[in-house]
């Protein structure tokens, strides 16, 4: 579905690259997660793939179309949800969707149904200028699937949403994927990525550090962690130790000898912890 080879991009047209030698492939029907901290180059890559940014260097094909020469027809197959919601504030939610659906040549979805799906039922005829940030974001998300896309680009689909709604959105993404939709998901939310993605790419400073499935990553990097609760000077303290790192092991032994242990669990490393281990960077 997506083929990217040696992609570079510089906003200043010099060797100050926001995206550097990025290569990857996304196959049909998979959910591909693009993970990285703020400013890593996630949106830049996605914008090149969708023709919003000019392709400067590299080879990119999306949904069978060469991105060097973008033709409008290509977007019949593509949906894109933006990081920053962008809807007409003077139009109502429904008018926004009604207008948008007319810009495609393929069968489109019913706006009312889409609005219900993202929890905007009852707000159809409200001007989006009066919407909250999260409501606009949900509308932008709903809009991106109006043309029944085969390939769906999602830039931070759950950012800024309350947990209940974020979980709804997550379910919608899963459902669409079950129907065969290929998904390119950009996020820095590791829980979402871990739950949804077949494969993830870790990107930092414009470079991809690694691409693998969350499962493999856990087998490879997910050494067991021990979470200990103990009492020190009358206070309950919680700490996590690696069972591999030497200094951690020593500390743990010390702890068991000196303090009263309340609870002790082993737990699997999260994707976030693996990310930090692989890239040496936090995800914020």
């Amino acid at each position: 579905m997506i083929k990217v080879k040696n992609l570079y991009h510089s906003y200043s047209n010099d060797d100050n690259y926001a995206v550097k030698d990025v290569s990857f492939e996304v196959t049909k029907g998979e959910i591909f997660g693009f993970l990285g901290p703020s400013g890593a180059g996630k949106s830049t890559t996605q914008n090149i793939l969708t023709g919003l940014l000019e392709l400067q260097k590299g080879e990119v094909s999306v949904a069978g179309y060469d991105i060097k020469k973008i033709i409008p027809k290509m977007f019949n197959k593509i949906g894109m949800s933006f990081e920053q919601s962008n809807v007409y504030s003077k139009l109502t939610a429904k008018e926004n969707l009604e207008f948008y659906r007319k810009l495609f040549d393929v069968k489109t979805r019913n706006p009312d149904e889409l609005l219900r799906l993202v929890g905007l039922k009852g707000k159809e005829n409200k001007k989006t200028g009066d919407f909250s940030k999260g409501m606009k974001h949900r509308l932008t998300f709903a809009r991106s699937m109006i043309n029944n896309p085969e390939l769906w680009f999602l830039d931070e689909p759950t950012t800024g949403l309350d947990p209940a709604i974020a979980s709804e959105i997550k379910n919608i993404i899963k459902e669409q994927n079950d129907k065969g939709v290929t998904i390119f998901l950009t996020t820095h939310n590791m829980y979402i990525a871990e739950e949804l993605c077949n494969r993830v790419a870790f990107i930092i400073d414009g470079e991809i550090k690694l691409i693998d499935s969350p499962k493999n990553l856990k087998l490879q990097y997910g050494d067991k962690l021990v979470e200990v609760e103990y009492i020190e000077n009358g206070n309950l303290i919680q700490e996590t130790f690696s069972t591999v790192i030497k200094s951690d092991k020593k500390k743990l032994q010390n702890l068991i000898g000196k303090h009263e242990i309340q609870t002790m669990h082993t737990k699997e490393a999260t994707l976030e912890e693996i990310f930090i281990k692989v890239t040496g960077r936090r995800l914020v």
Partner: protein, 369 residues
């Protein structure tokens, strides 16, 4: 089809924004000013103050002469103010002049000076011939001054005879002129109609840039040119509307509305395409303000040439608003030069298309900036 839907959506947006209403409100305001504040024709009669320094006998003869020329055949006793005091004066109104006879020479000089009008003292010289002493303002042209000089070297009678023998014939038998009020309308059509599109479309584009909706449009199966053209369409509708608001009540059915539509559409297309191009270089209206202001100033200059007939340098004729002004004027005239109107329309259509093509390229490339 997509173009049509985009156009309808733009109309909806425009009707919910306030630029649309500003333009309509402006048109109504201009109409009201033209109808109620601007006279059909401006005062064009020249005012003269005359002091007669003549023996009673000659004075009587002279006054009788003027009286004959008066449109009512009689004078009016009026009071006019000089230096905070009121003086008596005889007032005559002829076909082309308003004449005040002033008794005191000092008052005459003050009046001519204060009101910036012509003052003249008429007296007899040694040879018993009439002698004229003019008080001018100092800024009159040399030609005019010379005219005053020669007009009295010769005997007045010969001069009048010569004038009467001169046959003045209009070039075209049916040539019609505009009233002063109508003469203002081309300015209204040019600025509130055709050229307003330049600023308003830029404002619309900046609104869209702020909301990021251009990006959303860019990832649909519709092309950027359709987005841009639908915006221009809305601007053209507004300009036709606001032009008709002013034109219909004042000129009724006289103008050729087909030609008017043609010129409004082509010049409006040109102006909006230019506005699109300018807006493509900036992120928001504040950044673009300087450039837009500059364009505004330059575009207004031909007005001066239009209003002051004597000032018409070539560089002003090159400015786009110049042919637009005169194009609209030709449309309002009964026997306007259709060829000229067609030529101007074609010119603006061609230039508009070129600007539109350049804008389209720029918007395709700079969508996300």
């Amino acid at each position: 089809m997509k173009l049509w839907f985009s156009f309808i959506k733009e109309l909806k947006l425009a009707s919910r924004g306030f630029y649309f209403y500003i333009e309509i409100f402006m048109a109504l305001l201009i109409l009201a000013v033209l109808l109620f504040a601007v006279p059909e024709n401006f005062e064009s009669k020249q005012t003269e103050y005359i002091h007669l320094n003549l023996p009673e006998m000659n004075k009587k003869i002279y006054l009788q002469k003027i009286k004959k020329m008066d449109i009512n055949g009689s004078f009016e006793e009026v009071e006019i103010e000089v230096d905070n005091k009121l003086i008596q004066s005889k007032f005559y109104e002829t076909e082309d002049k308003k004449i005040y006879i002033i008794n005191e020479k000092d008052d005459l000089i003050k009046l001519a000076d204060k009101n910036r009008k012509l003052g003249a003292v008429i007296k007899l010289n040694k040879n018993n011939k009439l002698e004229y002493e003019y008080y001018l303002q100092g800024y009159e042209s040399k030609r005019l001054k010379n005219l005053y000089l020669i007009s009295h070297i010769e005997d007045t009678d010969t001069l009048i005879k010569a004038l009467e023998n001169q046959d003045v014939r209009p070039l075209e038998a049916d040539y019609d002129t505009l009233t002063d009020r109508e003469n203002i309308i081309p300015i209204v059509l040019t600025f509130n109609g055709a050229l307003m599109g330049l600023f308003i479309i830029a404002a619309y584009i900046f609104l869209d840039k702020q909301e990021g909706v251009i990006k959303a449009y860019a990832v649909t199966a519709s092309s950027v040119w359709q987005y841009l053209l639908s915006k221009i369409g809305v601007l053209l509708v507004t300009s036709i509307l606001s032009s008709l608001i002013v034109l219909l009540p004042i000129m009724g059915t006289q103008p050729n509305y087909l030609l008017l539509l043609l010129l409004l559409l082509t010049t409006g297309f040109f102006a909006s395409s230019l506005g699109l191009l300018i807006a493509s270089f900036y992120d928001n209206i504040m950044q673009a303000f300087g450039t837009i202001y500059l364009f505004m100033l330059v575009i207004i200059i031909p007005n001066i040439a239009y209003i002051i007939p004597g000032w018409d340098p070539i560089w002003v004729k090159i400015l786009p608003s110049y042919p637009i002004l005169y194009g609209f004027k030709e449309i309002l005239l009964k026997n306007g030069d259709i060829n000229y109107i067609l030529k101007v329309s074609l010119g603006f259509l061609v230039v508009g298309l070129i600007l539109f093509a350049i804008s389209n390229r720029r918007y395709k490339k700079t969508l996300t900036v």
